[in-house]
């Protein structure tokens, strides 16, 4: 058990974006895995995250108003040492400032329509007026509430996950004087290539500079933190992600089989994930074999362009788009897939390939990913090398012995990637930080 200098369990004030089952990507999965492992190690965690504000009629009557500021709510079941605090906010992970404005506009319109029908005096209730007028404003508003909340909580360390919570982390550190860790799951360079959003970059950089320690999810990310953000290497540690092993192992042999092979892309359909390389490789594969379908599971800002690209490449009938999948749907798609391909242009870590292996699906991963640092029993490619991606896809589909060797060794290998090891490493760094200077 990890103890603070007073000999008590370490208490962490953790700031996240999302938590299962409401997740849009790997960040939620990682926060869940790490927190659960910390819970099992006896680390006390207060997990603060935005309470989603929807722009839809169906849910918004239950909206928490910003005036209620925050609330204690029972979080997901199964935690002993973790408490959840929700702050109502329009923040959503993986969105751009423009998407934020669009969403805010939708919320306002919906509110207006709903409350004008309720009559006088109701329209300002939850009307979106209190949320930040732009994403930056909302992040700052969120930070202020989090800092206020921090003053009423007892903890030793502040641990903030990804840029949207860095201002909250910095504010909490400023009001309480507690040491700050920022955990980099992804950087603006991964998400946007060279077209970085200056506002986000500035927040990321300020957070990393202000933090006492920076956790990076891979050596690849650590290098970006050092080289692109000018952070001294001695305060940046690599904490690899783990994988939560699938519970229904007993049913894992109930694979859904058909004569047609299925190659899976699962992730957000954005520039970062390299959907066009997947399709270009698909076209080449289809040039030498016929009985194969390519499934793209996920959504994102390049969705429409990707659908068009499939048509332009003349493989429209061979590519299926499922939209965003969750929970059981993800398990179902893994059961159908013969191969998972992650052609990411820049992937700080990439938990999905580990999940694929956990579901006995062999993987091809880009060398430009953090997960390629920890996986040896995977096929590795440069994301731009579509000939090689296609070559490897064909080989996996054609040779069952290759598939089984990759699958067996891969499934075995991921057993070594445990969240408890990640949590232990965090804990030992917390302890270092808490030693009185």
């Amino acid at each position: 058990m990890s103890l603070n200098p007073e000999g008590e369990s370490i208490r962490v004030f953790m700031l996240g974006w999302e938590f299962p089952p409401f997740i849009s990507g790997g960040l939620g999965t990682a926060c869940y895995g790490l927190t659960r492992a910390m819970d099992s190690l006896g680390i006390k965690v207060t997990f603060v995250l935005p309470k989603k504000v929807h722009g839809h009629y169906a849910t918004h009557v239950k909206l928490l108003t910003p005036e209620s500021r925050h609330e204690t709510e029972t979080g997901p079941p199964g935690f002993k040492n973790v408490q959840f605090r929700w702050i109502p906010s329009t923040l959503e992970p993986y969105s751009t400032p423009q998407e934020y404005l669009d969403r805010l506009e939708r919320i306002r319109t919906n509110h207006h329509e709903l409350f004008s029908s309720l009559g006088e005096g109701a329209e300002h209730f939850g009307s979106g007026e209190h949320y930040g007028r732009d994403m930056y404003g909302e992040v700052q508003r969120y930070a202020a509430i989090a800092a206020e909340l921090a003053l009423r909580e007892e903890f030793d360390i502040i641990h903030a996950h990804d840029w949207m919570t860095y201002p909250a982390g910095m504010a909490a550190a400023a009001t309480t004087g507690k040491p700050l860790v920022v955990h980099v799951h992804s950087t603006e360079f991964d998400r946007s290539g060279e077209h970085v959003n200056q506002m986000i970059y500035d927040i990321e950089r300020a957070g990393m500079e202000r933090a006492h320690r920076v956790f990076a999810v891979s050596c690849r990310t650590r290098n970006i933190v050092i080289n692109r953000y000018g952070i001294p290497g001695e305060k940046v540690d690599v904490i690899y992600n783990g994988v939560e092993r699938n519970d229904d192992r007993a049913f894992s042999d109930t694979r859904i089989r058909s004569d047609e092979k299925i190659v899976l892309f699962l992730g957000r359909i954005t520039m970062q994930k390299g959907p066009e390389y997947f399709l270009q490789a698909a076209q080449k594969v289809l040039g030498v074999m016929d009985n194969v379908k390519f499934v793209m599971a996920g959504s994102g800002d390049l969705m429409h362009r990707t659908i068009e690209l499939a048509a332009d490449l003349g493989i429209g009938s061979k590519v299926l788009f499922t939209g965003f999948l969750r929970g059981d749907e993800v398990r179902q798609i893994y059961k159908m897939a013969d191969l998972y391909v992650m052609p990411s242009v820049s992937e700080p870590f990439g938990i999905a390939p580990l999940e694929a292996l956990d579901h006995d699906v062999p993987v091809i991963i880009s060398k430009q990913s953090g997960v390629s640092e920890v996986l040896t029993h995977a096929l590795k490619v440069d994301f731009w090398d579509v000939d090689e991606i296609a070559n490897k896809i064909v080989a996996v589909l054609k040779y069952p012995q290759l598939r089984s060797t990759l699958k067996d060794h891969g499934n075995f290998e991921i057993r070594k990637l445990r969240w408890t090891d990640s949590a232990r490493k965090c804990a030992s760094i917390y302890e270092e930080m808490l030693v009185p200077a």
Binding site: T376, H377, N391, A395, K398, Y399, Q401, L402, T405, H409
Partner: protein, 402 residues
């Protein structure tokens, strides 16, 4: 014998990376073969027949040296001319053919023998199989040909039991053939441990090593030191002092009057077999397991090699010498070693000698090449049929009309 990067989209029949093979050949020639050959030649001359050695060298390597670094072949020729050097028999292509095709195995051994006769003017009389792969059946197969007097195998503990590797033995079921067993402890002291500073015996001097050999006197007649030639200069770099060690070894060993150097054939003629060794299961000299798992340990490896030998009949039916030669070069055991997943994640020797990023990449490359070769066989067979048919028609037209 490295393959070039060959994808499913490639369709030409240049499978081998000639450029890379040439540069590797020249590199090992200059780091190992040339300096070691010259040193050994000097030592043989210096000790005037009292220092003797044997080489086991494959046909493919000799072919490559002839093509890319012919001076290596001339130094071997000079060594052969001293009369103190014996050349052993083996498969021409450093193959595992013994396990898969008796016909192919025999042809490769013959081809190798012919090459040694042609280049060095001697006929191999002692056999060593690829990677020291051995069992009773191999011994029996060699025994019946009558072409070999002895065979060399790994002196693995589990085949020896309480017996010492330092005697000549008889393989189970053989009348004439004798068995020489590699003393792996002493061989590996040089081959693996020589430069290891964590080893309690480091640094290893020729005097110290000779004293260990002396220790066997009274309880053994022969110590078979058998090691990869690249021990000298490549696995153990020149700056480890390996060449100095080698140059002082004859002097240190011969200081003791009971000691002498003999070639394998001389040993076989000098000593009677002490006992019969029974090896029902295959053994090799690889890894701690001393089994075949380095080449055939996973599903990819056995699939690749089975597919390769399944092609034998088609390859022969094509009667195309290029196809036959390519098929044989694909039998080189290294192709399968590169596909080994054992210890892969730990990054040990298997990885060090592997030109591929992963065993999976090596399997994919090999299978793509094999696929193309299969296609060439099919094309050749079709051509053959067309040729036969057209010849048949011509024949018909010559049949007298009445």
């Amino acid at each position: 014998m490295r393959l070039r990067h060959y994808t499913v989209f490639d369709s030409n029949d240049n499978y081998f990376d000639d450029h890379k093979n040439a540069s590797i050949c020249r590199k090992v020639a200059h780091k190992c073969y040339l300096p070691a050959n010259r040193l050994l030649l000097d030592l043989i001359r210096k000790y005037d027949g009292r220092f003797r050695i044997a080489y086991s060298i494959t046909g493919v390597v000799l072919e490559q040296f002839e093509a890319y670094c012919p001076e290596v072949v001339s130094t071997f020729d000079a060594l052969a001319a001293t009369g103190c050097v014996e050349f052993l028999g083996e498969t021409y292509y450093h193959s595992l053919s013994f396990l898969y095709s008796q016909v192919e195995f025999t042809e490769q051994v013959d081809k190798h023998t012919k090459m040694i006769e042609y280049l060095f003017g001697q006929t191999p009389r002692v056999f060593r199989n690829t990677e020291l792969i051995y069992n009773n059946q191999l011994a029996a197969a060699l025994d019946t040909t009558g072409r070999f007097d002895g065979v060399i195998a790994e002196g693995a503990d589990h085949i020896l039991g309480s017996r010492s590797p330092n005697f000549v033995y008889r393989p189970q079921g053989c009348d004439n053939l004798k068995l020489l067993l590699k003393n792996y402890a002493l061989s590996d002291d040089i081959a693996f441990r020589f430069s290891n500073r964590d080893w309690s015996q480091w640094p290893l001097t020729a005097e110290k090593f000779a004293s260990w050999i002396d220790d066997a006197n009274g309880n053994g007649q022969v110590i078979n030191l058998f090691m990869d030639y690249e021990t000298f200069g490549e696995h153990q770099w020149a700056d480890t002092g390996i060449f100095d060690f080698l140059s002082h070894l004859p002097e240190s060993v011969l200081r003791h009057s009971d000691n002498s150097f003999k070639t394998p054939s001389e040993v076989i003629h000098a000593y009677e077999a002490m006992d019969v060794i029974d090896v029902p299961h295959l053994i090799s000299w690889a890894d701690t397991e001393r089994d075949l798992s380095a080449w055939l340990g996973n599903a990819m490896q056995s699939n690749a090699i089975h597919e390769l030998y399944r092609l034998e009949r088609t390859v022969r039916a094509s009667r195309d010498p290029d196809i036959l030669s390519d098929w044989r070069k694909l039998q080189v055991s290294d192709h399968f070693y590169y596909m080994c997943t054992k210890y892969f994640a730990d990054g040990d020797v298997h990885k060090y000698f592997n030109p591929y990023d992963s065993p999976y990449d090596s399997y994919i490359n090999f299978m793509n090449v094999l696929d193309n070769l299969r296609g060439r066989c099919a094309a050749a067979a079709q051509f053959e049929t067309i040729e036969l048919t057209s010849r048949g028609r011509k024949g018909e037209s010559h049949v007298p009309a009445n």
